[in-house]
């Protein structure tokens, strides 16, 4: 009986020690920033809460923000920067925002896991005097600075280009993302608006697929075998475009225009097939959305007026500018992008 007590006591002590180590193992960095007395020019404590950190797009965004933070640290504008990864758990993201409020962060960046569920937490942060900037995956709250792209415009731009490229007539396959997903629906809506102007363009098939290469290849192959005589493809995602183009190449069919995105796998294939007459227009969800959100938030926290909604223009990758984007030495699953020049960022955030 005594033995069990001893064991329990040992166990609790061990656990306690472990928890204490976990808690205190890392120096909290706030001691250094405690006695800043410079009013508005005080260096800021910045945190980024993201729903995912591991996908390649997020990794690139992470790197871009870190580089910019290093610059701003050099200018004395940022004192501390932390990344919080919710790993797909939206409740965890709420906890992260709350933790940042308690720790008196000055700026919170958010790439949201839900368009609605984070609103109360973010608005609480705003009420506590914290500058909150949301980018990429946007929320519905109007109390935070939102930095994103216009997904309808994405579809419109692609539809317009395809209509013109085909001289206003022909048969196309519409290759969309998953049904019921907001981004996919919005891009397709935009495309339909643009295609209305070309009444002689017929949509032979409307195919849905996840934004992944393998399912996309299967979905496209079956639609294409039913409609081998198409003149073009409206595709709204890079992996989808890569799947469509691969199918044409594998089956040694005539090249038709396919719209795309800055998915490196597609860009590589595009470059390779340009000599065979392949042509495309691609755009991107630019990674510098994160940098713009950071700059906007830092400016706002410093007292500047910043627009609450910042729509970032979609980049255009054409047959002529393809070479600036495609990265032969990088994996297919990456998203090459040119950084946005600082003056343009300043213009967007109203400096």
């Amino acid at each position: 009986m005594i033995g069990r007590f001893t064991r329990a006591a040992v166990a609790v002590t061990a656990l306690g020690a472990l928890a204490a180590t976990a808690a205190c193992g890392v120096d909290s960095g706030d001691d250094s920033s405690g006695d800043g007395d410079g009013g508005k020019s005080k260096a800021l404590k910045v945190g980024w809460s993201t729903i995912y950190l591991t996908p390649s797009w997020m990794q690139q965004t992470d790197k871009m923000i870190k580089d910019d933070v290093a610059k701003l640290k050099g200018e004395g504008k940022i004192a501390d920067y932390q990344v919080f990864n919710a790993n797909g758990d939206t409740s965890q993201q709420i906890a992260q925002i709350r933790a940042m409020i308690q720790q008196k962060y000055d700026v919170i960046l958010v790439d949201a896991g839900s368009s609605t569920a984070l609103n109360p937490a973010m608005e609480q942060a705003v009420n506590a005097g914290i500058t909150v900037a949301n980018f990429d995956s946007l929320v519905t709250s109007e109390k935070v600075v939102r930095v994103g792209t216009d997904q309808k415009e994405w579809g419109r731009m692609m539809g317009q280009w395809l209509g013109e490229k085909l001289g206003g007539k022909g048969k196309i396959i519409a290759f969309n993302g998953p049904a019921g997903v907001a981004v996919s629906e919005e891009r397709w809506q935009g495309a339909q608006e643009a295609l209305k102007k070309f009444p002689d363009i017929k949509v032979a098939a409307n195919v849905h697929s996840e934004y992944n290469l393998a399912p996309a290849a299967q979905a496209f192959a079956s639609a294409y075998s039913a409609n081998p005589d198409i003149d073009g493809v409206f595709s709204q995602g890079g992996a989808l475009s890569a799947a469509a183009l691969q199918t044409l190449v594998k089956q040694k069919k005539k090249m038709v225009p396919i719209t795309g995105e800055n998915y490196n796998g597609f860009l590589k294939l595009w470059k390779e097939q340009k000599a065979n007459g392949f042509s495309s227009l691609s755009t991107a969800q630019p990674n510098y959305l994160g940098v713009i959100a950071l700059r906007a938030a830092v400016a706002k926290a410093g007292g500047a007026t910043v627009p609450n909604q910042i729509m970032v223009p979609l980049p255009k990758i054409t047959d002529d500018t393809l070479d600036q984007y495609v990265k032969a030495d990088q994996p297919d699953d990456s998203y090459p992008i040119q950084p946005m020049p600082q003056p343009e960022i300043d213009k967007l955030i109203g400096k």
């Binding site: 976990a22 709350r98 839900s114």
Partner: protein, 314 residues
């Protein structure tokens, strides 16, 4: 007299151990957040932990009856969606609908387990896709809305009262009452020794269905709590709760084989897991190391707990 204290202690080894650990965590937490014990902090934290605590109670109920529920996250999201979609027409009606949805999905799981004689892990895995699909039909994209007054009262306190705290107290009271009924006793009996329970005249199937339905009520409450906390519904938000609720139950000492475990311990364990993840956010560790730390602490905690209480199963 000391003997009696010792006996009580022995009987509650899980609760005492977890309680001690909780004290350590709270002390560490206070190091980072000096306002931890203010009413405002307690309200915010209890609002945040309520869904996990209730979900873990649901999971423990099923585990006590010798089962497991992998569809818990989907059912939670379903209740959340039903509540968020209907809340504008009246919170009470919406809550009843959400609870009814969760309890009946739970009962349906129970029927499949009890009558089809299929392993719970398979049945509830399949059910997780089923209920996940139903949730998407109810709420295809994030939305719905909860009256702002309620959201505010829940998250920031109502006349200085931490509502989530009260809810947890009430639910524990409910459990205490259930536990003393014939059904409550049968639950432990069925989980501990199904054949023995059957031989002594307990309706094993009914008890199992009842256990899954009761778990559905707890999970439904968790879903409503999450909807009120976030002011909306989202079909994808429930998934992580499945494994977190199992982790909390195991940490609390609820046996995978059924029949052993205390609900008080489950509440403490869920609280511990919530506090631990929050605490790691304060440490300034890089995100990937936070995940490693979280996993390591859980493994060590469970291993130590098993080591400390091993005699019980000898």
């Amino acid at each position: 007299m000391p003997d009696r204290v010792a006996t009580t202690l022995r009987g509650n080894l899980d609760v005492v151990g977890l309680g001690a650990l909780l004290v350590v965590l709270l002390a560490a937490y206070r190091h980072y957040d000096s306002e931890l014990f203010t009413p405002a902090s307690i309200t915010i934290l209890s609002a945040q932990f309520l869904p996990l605590i209730l979900a873990a109670m649901g999971q423990s109920t099923v585990m006590l009856a010798g089962g497991i529920d992998l569809s818990l996250g989907s059912v939670l999201a379903l209740a959340m969606a039903v509540f968020a979609v209907r809340a504008e027409d009246g919170v009470a009606v919406a809550a009843v609908l959400a609870l009814a949805a969760a309890a009946s999905t739970g009962a349906a799981n129970g029927v499949l387990v009890a009558y089809a004689g299929l392993p719970p892990i398979i049945v509830t895995l399949a059910a997780s896709f089923l209920w996940g699909g139903v949730t998407l039909v109810v709420l295809p994209k994030p939305g719905g809305s909860v009256p702002a007054g309620l959201v505010d009262a829940y998250n920031n306190g109502w006349n200085g009262l931490a509502l989530p705290f009260v809810v947890i107290g009430l639910v524990l009271l409910l459990w205490k009452t259930v536990r003393t009924t014939r059904f409550g006793l049968s639950l432990y009996a069925v989980g501990g020794n199904e054949h023995g329970a059957y031989a002594s005249g307990i309706g094993v199937r009914k008890v199992k269905i009842g256990a899954y339905a009761l778990a559905g009520v707890f999970v439904g409450l968790a879903g409503i709590g999450l909807a009120v906390q976030t002011g909306s519904g989202d079909a994808t938000i429930g998934a992580p709760y499945t494994l977190n609720s199992i982790a909390a139950s195991v940490l609390a000492g609820v046996s995978f084989f059924g029949g052993i475990g205390q609900m008080r311990a489950t509440v403490l364990a869920a609280l511990l897991i919530g506090l631990l993840t929050n605490l790691l956010l304060f440490t300034g560790l890089s995100p990937f190391y936070q995940l490693i730390m979280q996993g390591a602490v859980l493994i060590v905690a469970i291993a130590v707990k098993t080591f400390a209480t091993r005699e019980r199963t000898d």
